[in-house]
């Protein structure tokens, strides 16, 4: 940098202030973040981990394009500032053909790089794609209600409200639907991204949890007055613990038949955890068909296991 290019004291002062401010601010944020559950980064299973890696990878590539561009813009603005010198001023300066090609080609190339990640990752992380693992998968039916989550374990014959327990390292297939509730979105950020739960539809979300612990889950899509309280805990435990939990649940619960279901479906806010046994096996199908049945021409839009066949 020649003497002519020296940064002026006032700009230097501004830059120092800006970086000092940003530095102090980042430090404060870092202090506040310590020990917290940064759910999307602290992933506890392969799906969430891959999603996190994709976020970070795409962010790095995009920043690699954006930051130099913006720095170039700042530099140009500074380099050709009025107070600097008028000897470099060339109002007739024209951009050439090459320039016009580059400004289209460069971002296109970068997007091509991103595209080569976007397409495969989208196919790979499609939520209804079945996951392979040593342990056999379990199925959990999920009904979004106003304003609580009902989880039905068809194989175990139990059901829970606002609480779901999962065996570790086991593929879990959630079948999401809603009953008498607006569109809701099922989200356990530590374990996987979200998917909508909608009346008359079954959306399948597959995930695996690798680390024992309690993870917050909730509706991410606004669905009425009780929205903020529509939370649940997802507990990941060893398979043995999971099985003994199923057994205890069977012993200590009320039954969920059609009448109990009618009571349960009434709107309620900040619902407590509840458990049920035995559970009427037709409840879930009924809840879905209710919105399809009388209009037979509209087949159930289920999305099942794209990757299996």
């Amino acid at each position: 940098m020649t003497a002519k290019h020296k940064i002026s004291p006032s700009l230097a002062k501004l830059l120092v202030r800006m970086f000092a401010g940003l530095g102090a601010f980042s430090f404060l944020l870092w202090l506040l973040l310590r020990g917290q559950n940064i759910a999307i980064l602290h992933s506890k299973g392969p799906i969430a981990s891959q999603q996190r890696d994709l976020i970070i990878w795409s962010l790095i590539v995009i920043l690699a394009i954006a930051v130099p561009t913006v720095l170039l813009l700042y530099f140009t603005a500074w380099r050709y500032r009025e107070s600097h010198s008028s000897s470099t001023y060339h109002p007739e300066a024209k951009t050439g053909k090459i320039f016009n090609i580059i400004i289209w080609a460069l971002p296109s190339l970068m997007m091509l790089v991103l595209a080569f990640t976007l397409v495969p990752s989208t196919h790979k992380l499609q939520p209804n794609k079945a996951l392979a693992a040593q342990k056999p998968s379990i199925n959990i039916q999920v009904v979004a209600m106003r304003w609580k989550w009902l989880f039905i374990y068809p194989e175990q014959g139990i059901a829970t409200v606002n609480y779901v327990q999962l065996p570790k390292d086991t593929p879990v297939a959630f079948d999401l639907t809603a009953d008498d509730a607006p569109m809701s979105s099922f989200w356990v950020p530590n374990l996987s991204g979200q998917l909508y739960a909608m009346t008359g539809h079954i959306n399948r979300l597959n995930l695996i949890a690798n680390v024992n612990g309690d993870y917050p889950g909730r509706s991410a899509e606004i669905n009425g007055a009780g929205f903020a309280g529509m939370q649940f805990t997802a507990r990941v435990s060893s398979t043995d613990d999971f099985e003994s939990w199923v057994e205890t649940t069977k012993q200590s619960s009320a039954s969920l038949d059609k009448t109990a279901y009618q009571t349960l479906i009434k709107p309620s806010e900040n619902n407590e955890v509840e458990t049920y046994y035995p559970v009427d096996g037709t409840l879930y199908a009924d809840a879905v068909m209710k919105y399809i049945g009388s209009h037979g021409n509209k087949a159930a839009h289920t999305m099942h296991d794209e990757g299996m066949n």
């Binding site: 759910a39 951009t95 595209a115 992380l125 998917l195």
Partner: protein
């Protein structure tokens, strides 16, 4: 009989809680205050003749600014309430608002900011600047234009009407997605107000857009081919073309939702065989282009500003225009990225993810043309340019986060989180709002005849930047922590609270910035003698809006310029071509048709909200009659004779003191500081109190 005249309105619909009473009282107080002043100063006639019924796009532009400015404050107060709630509503506490009330506030906030602030300012700028830039004296259809403006005002009134009648607004989020917005889940009048506010203003937008497309295509000065059009005009053309393409879709969607709610149809209710997912599709087919309808004019503003303050023509003009064209076309085809999480197949998601990536290519091209424009320029950093640099910084943050969101699997995690909210605020504040601020400070001298105070402008700018970072950096982080948007309470164990506190503080800094902008305008008015610009061309401009006086006469140009190149006015200055041949000018007459129709349209909407069918029918008949009458009247223009033009010009020139005719330097050392302003206000108030000045009023 009661039902016939009053529908579902009962005494219970009148204000009964403190919010409603407060809102109603505020309206009445504001109205009374204005009425008293107007009566005391005998200004009613002036208001009606010179402003309300005016078809002059410059006056309509100013009225857009005023309404949008008020709505910006109104929407800003909502923000402070929302963030205060999120700071306080932790664990057992429900904060200051109930869940329902909180949801109404963020819904109203979103609607007001998008439809009545951003759209209002953009339409105001297009109204004021585009006719001047293309060297036109008036619009293709002045009537459509005033009608569009008054329908916009009708929408503004409708969205605030719930304070007075009914006391509830939609609690559904700004797009009122189905089935939440259906009659089963939202039985009150809130969603009806939402429907009719958007419906009325949306129709206004469509009409205004048609008018501006016709104006830009048909009314350009001789010699101004499309390839010589200024970039803000190009940007406005693209924006308006998009509006015409997608606003009818909004209108249709709102009608379908209205049929569901009013007549019990089942377009969007699953139980009756309808399809709520269709609503999501339809609303975003309009909704995504809508954000670009706002963004494109901002791009155009920045192109003008960068070129003027670099004192160079825009580099790669064609690439810039093609870039904007590319953005407009692609913006019509990415809507599904708003609901990757609804369960479409991976092929569909990947396709829309790819198109979303592609849209950033033409955007990047725009950035490169700006850099090349600055290259070898002689750049001045007046406030319009500062807003440009702020835009570059913050819009880039928004663009980067947007590209991350374009990856469907990444979006599964980030959708509906505060990360998403931070993304679009980076774009809407850093892009649209900063564009508007840049445009207003750039064109203010044209509009007012004096430039804005630079010093306070710079203070305001820094408040916005610092406040933005304080508010939205923590918001991105909260999203990564898994915080969803729209939470009216949460547990302290989540660790969110400190971040919400910082966000609120940032919001206060932004509020200070906004206040400073108001102070800036007031201080500029006080110091207008010092800031006056009599040349009509304070920045050494390049395009035709600078070729006429500031403020321009109501006929815009005494002589319509002949355009030879893109920098039409720069050429004129270089070649000294200023014809002085006065000619007869056709001027459109004022009309109150716009106001009348807008009032009736408002009443139709109000009638539907409250099921007052008599009101609906009567108002509709009224609209038809007014249209018919207008269609048969041929008396909509008059001729301003050349001699009169000459006289007017002579009068105007005589008013300019001789010593002020030369270009005033823009040295801003003498601009008032904030403290000077405070001192001035105190002295002024003391003077009034001491000398009992109110007695003479």
């Amino acid at each position: 009989m009661r039902e016939f005249w009053l529908g579902r309105l009962t005494s219970h619909s009148l204000p009964h809680d403190w919010v409603m009473v407060g809102g109603t009282a505020t309206f009445i107080a504001m109205f009374l205050f204005a009425a008293v002043i107007l009566t005391r100063t005998k200004r009613w006639k002036w208001l009606w003749n010179d402003w309300l019924t005016s078809v002059d796009p410059k006056k309509i532009g100013i009225m857009y600014f005023l309404v949008a400015g008020f709505m910006l404050i109104r929407g800003g107060i909502d923000v402070i309430l929302m963030w205060l709630q999120q700071v306080l509503a932790v664990d057992g506490s429900q904060g200051i608002l109930s869940a329902d009330h909180y949801q109404q506030i963020f819904t109203a906030h979103g609607n007001i900011m998008v439809f009545f602030v951003a759209m209002g300012f953009i339409f105001g700028l297009i109204n004021y600047i585009v006719p001047l830039q293309i060297g036109a004296r008036d619009l293709a259809s002045p009537l459509l234009n005033t009608l569009g403006f008054w329908l916009y005002v009708g929408g503004v009134v409708m969205i605030n009407m719930f304070f007075v009648f009914g006391g509830e607004y939609a609690a559904t989020g700004w797009l009122a997605v189905a089935p939440l917005s259906g009659i089963d889940f939202s039985p009150g009048v809130g969603v009806d107000y939402w429907i009719w506010s958007l419906q009325i203003s949306g129709i206004g937008t469509t009409l205004g857009a048609i008018n501006f497309i016709m104006t830009i295509l048909k009314m350009r000065a001789p010699g101004m081919t499309l390839g010589k059009m200024p970039l803000f005009t190009w940007a406005s053309l693209f924006s308006m073309l998009m509006a015409v393409a997608v606003f009818p879709l909004l209108t249709a969607t709102l009608f379908l939702q209205f049929f569901d709610r009013y007549f019990g149809a089942h377009f969007f209710t699953a139980l009756g065989g309808g399809d709520p997912m269709m609503y999501t599709n339809l609303i975003w087919m309009w909704g995504h282009p809508e954000v670009y309808i706002l963004m494109l004019p901002a791009f155009g503003i920045f192109s003008e500003v960068v070129s003027t303050f670099s004192r160079k023509p825009i580099a790669s003009y064609t690439a810039n225009v093609l870039g904007m064209a590319g953005v407009s076309v692609l913006a019509l085809s990415v809507w599904l990225h708003h609901f990757f999480t609804m369960g479409a197949s991976s092929d569909v998601n990947a396709f829309f993810g790819l198109v979303t990536l592609v849209i950033s290519i033409p955007t990047a091209v725009l950035f490169f043309t700006w850099i090349a424009t600055m290259h070898k320029g002689l750049i001045r950093f007046d406030t319009p340019m500062l807003w440009f640099l702020g835009f570059v910084t913050i819009f880039t943050i928004g663009g980067v986060s947007g590209l991350v969101l374009a990856f469907p699997p990444a979006d599964f995690q980030l959708h509906n989180s505060l990360f998403l909210v931070a993304h679009f605020h980076s774009n809407v504040i850093g892009g649209v709002l900063f564009g508007i601020f840049s445009g207003i400070s750039y064109w203010f001298p044209k509009i007012a005849g004096f430039r804005l105070n630079e010093r306070i402008g710079r203070n305001a700018f820094w408040c916005w930047i610092i406040g933005f970072c304080m508010s939205f950096i923590p918001m991105y982080i909260l999203g990564i922590m898994g915080a969803t948007r729209r939470l009216d309470h949460y547990e302290s164990s989540t660790g969110y609270q400190p971040f919400f506190i910082i966000m609120l503080l940032g919001g206060i800094v932004i509020a200070v910035g906004l206040t400073l902008q108001i102070v800036q305008i007031l201080a500029s008015i006080i110091q207008r003698g010092h800031l006056r610009d009599n040349t009509g061309d304070p920045w050494n401009g390049r395009t035709l809006e600078w070729a006429t006086a500031s403020p321009p006469p109501f006929y815009n140009f005494t002589v319509i310029p002949h355009v030879m190149t893109r920098d039409a006015f720069l050429d004129m200055k270089r070649l000294g071509q200023f014809d002085q041949q006065y000619e007869d000018i056709l001027i459109p007459k004022n009309t109150a048709v716009g106001i009348y129709i807008a009032i009736l349209a408002f009443l139709v909407g109000f009638g539907f909200v409250w099921h007052i069918n008599s009101l609906v029918v009567i108002s509709l008949i009224g609209i038809i009659i007014i249209f018919a009458k207008r269609a048969f009247s041929e008396d909509s223009e008059y001729t301003l004779r050349a001699e009169e033009v000459e006289k007017l010009e002579a009068k105007r020139i005589a008013k300019v003191p001789a010593h002020e005719k030369e270009v005033k330097s823009l040295a801003d050392e003498e601009d008032m500081s904030v403290w000077d302003f405070v001192r001035y206000v105190i002295t002024f108030a003391m003077d009034i109190i001491r000398n009992k000045k109110w007695k003479t009023w």
